[in-house]
Subunit: 240 residues, 2 copies
DNA sequence: CCTACCGATCGGTAGG
DNA sequence: CCTACCGATCGGTAGG
C-alpha cells in the first residue's frame, strides 16, 4: 500500500490495474467453474466491488470472455510464428511448434483451458475471429507435417490424424500439468517434442531415428519471452 | 405409428421410451450447448412436454447429467476389461486399450464429450463415483505401459507423460471425428494404435519396430459389441 | 465536465 | 401429461 514513487498519471494507472484485476479474476472463475456458471455478482464480489462499479470497467460478461479468448489465441499464433523464424527443417519446425505450444499451455493454463472449453458460448462473429486465428495456427502445423512426409523424414498412416493427435496431446498439458511440482514447462516441452518425433517416426537423411537433442535447437525456455509477459499473480499490484 | 404387435405392457414400454427420449435429447443439448446453458424448458420443448411433465420422468437436471456420465464411464471400463481378457503382451494390451477407447469415443461421441467437459458441475459424491471408475480405467493403461517399459519393449522419456499423451490424443477423437465421412471407427482405431506404438517406440524381442498388423489382433470392429447396444438414433422408436 | 464508484432496482428467467 | 405457480437469482442499468 505504501507509495514508493509519486504518481503523475495515477488515475490512468489505477484504471488499468483495476481492469486487469477484473480480467484476471474473471479468467480464474471462468476456467474453474465455467463461463455460464460464473455470475457477475460473484465476479464483482471477488474483485471487491458492486456489479454497478464492475460495469464501469467492463462492457458485458460476454465481452470479458471474448477478450480473454482472443488475446490467448493471438498470443499463441504470434509466438508460434516467432518460434519458427529462420527454421526450415520440418522436424525442427515441429519441435519448435510443440515447444511453444506446450509452454503456452503450461504457463497460460487458465487461458488455454478457457479457449478449449468455452468456444460454444461465443457469438458467431467472435467465434469466427477465434477460429480464423486458430486455422492460421493449425496451418503452420499442417505444412510442417506434410512437408516432412513428402521429404520422407516423417512416416505416418495419415498426416491429418497425426497432426490432430500431436496437437491434442500437447493441448492436454493445460488440463493436467501442475506447476511447482515435477517437471518445468521447458522440460515438459522437450518430453513432448520427443514423443511427437517418435509418433511421426522421424528419421534423418541417413534413416537414423531423430530426437529433440539431435536437432540442437537449444533450451525451449528461451522461447518463453515470445509469449509476452508472464501471467500476473492473482493479487500482484506493485507500486509502479 | 402403426402397431404391428399388440402391446400388453403398453404403459411400461411407453414410459421407458419417453425416459430414453428425454435422456437422449438431454445428451444432445448438454453436449452441444453445455449443461449450464441448457434450460429445462428448452429440454421439455424439444421432447414436446411442459417442464412439469418432464419432472414426472426425471429427478433433477443434475441427475440427468450424472446418470449420463456414470453410464458412459461404466461402459468404457467394462468394455476395456473385456477387450483385455486373455491378452498378456503389453504391446497387445495397449493396442486393445487404444482400440476400445477410440471406438467408444467415435461411436459414443456425445457421451464422451459430456464426460470430458462437464465434470466440474458434478456434486462431490457423483464426481467421486466417476473419478473412481476413471482411476480404475487409467490403471489398466498405467500397468500396460509400465510393464512394457520394464520389459524393454517400450522406450519413452517418462511413462506417466506417455500414458497421458496417448489417452489424451485418443480422447480427442470424440471432439473432431465426423462419422459418415472418411474413416470408419475401426479404421481410426487402427490408425491410432499405430500412432501409439510409434510414440512408445515399441519393438519386439529382436528389436524390430512393431505395428498393429504385426500383433495380429484382428479387426477392432469385433470389439464393438463390448460397448453394448449402439446409441439410439434421435427419433428411433420401432414397434417392439 | 471528469473519474470512480454507490445503493437500489430494472425486466426476465432459472430450476423446481 | 397440464395449468399455475414458488423463492431465488440472472445479467445489466437507473440516478446521483
Amino acid at each position: 500500500m505504501t507509495e514508493l514513487v509519486p504518481r503523475r498519471e495515477g488515475r490512468k494507472r489505477n484504471a488499468a490495474t483495476t481492469s486487469e484485476r477484473i480480467r484476471r479474476t474473471a479468467l480464474e472463475l471462468f476456467s474453474t467453474q465455467g463461463y455460464e456458471a460464473t455470475g457477475i455478482r460473484e465476479l464483482a464480489d471477488r474483485v471487491g466491488m458492486t456489479t454497478a462499479s464492475l460495469y464501469h470497467y467492463v462492457g458485458t460478461k460476454a465481452e470479458l470472455l471474448t477478450d480473454i479468448m482472443r488475446d490467448a489465441q493471438a498470443r499463441l499464433l504470434a509466438a508460434a510464428q516467432g518460434a519458427l523464424a529462420g527454421i526450415d527443417d520440418p522436424a525442427a519446425r515441429i519441435v519448435r511448434l510443440v515447444h511453444i505450444h506446450v509452454l503456452a499451455h503450461a504457463i497460460f493454463q487458465l487461458e488455454a483451458r478457457t479457449v478449449d472449453t468455452e468456444l460454444r458460448v461465443l457469438d458467431p462473429s467472435a467465434l469466427q475471429e477465434i477460429l480464423d486465428a486458430r486455422d492460421e495456427y493449425e496451418q503452420l502445423w499442417r505444412e510442417a507435417i506434410v512437408r516432412g512426409c513428402d521429404d520422407g523424414v516423417f512416416t505416418v498412416p495419415d498426416a491429418s490424424t497425426a497432426r490432430l493427435a500431436i496437437m491434442t496431446m500437447s493441448t492436454g498439458v493445460a488440463h493436467w500439468y501442475k506447476p511447482n511440482r515435477g517437471a518445468s514447462p521447458a522440460e515438459l516441452a522437450v518430453n513432448f517434442s520427443d514423443l511427437a518425433l517418435a509418433l511421426l517416426r522421424a528419421t534423418d537423411a541417413a534413416g537414423r531415428t531423430v530426437d529433440t537433442a539431435a536437432l540442437a535447437l537449444g533450451d525451449p525456455a528461451e522461447l518463453i519471452p515470445l509469449l509476452g509477459i508472464a501471467p500476473p499473480a492473482s493479487t500482484a499490484d506493485a507500486a509502479r
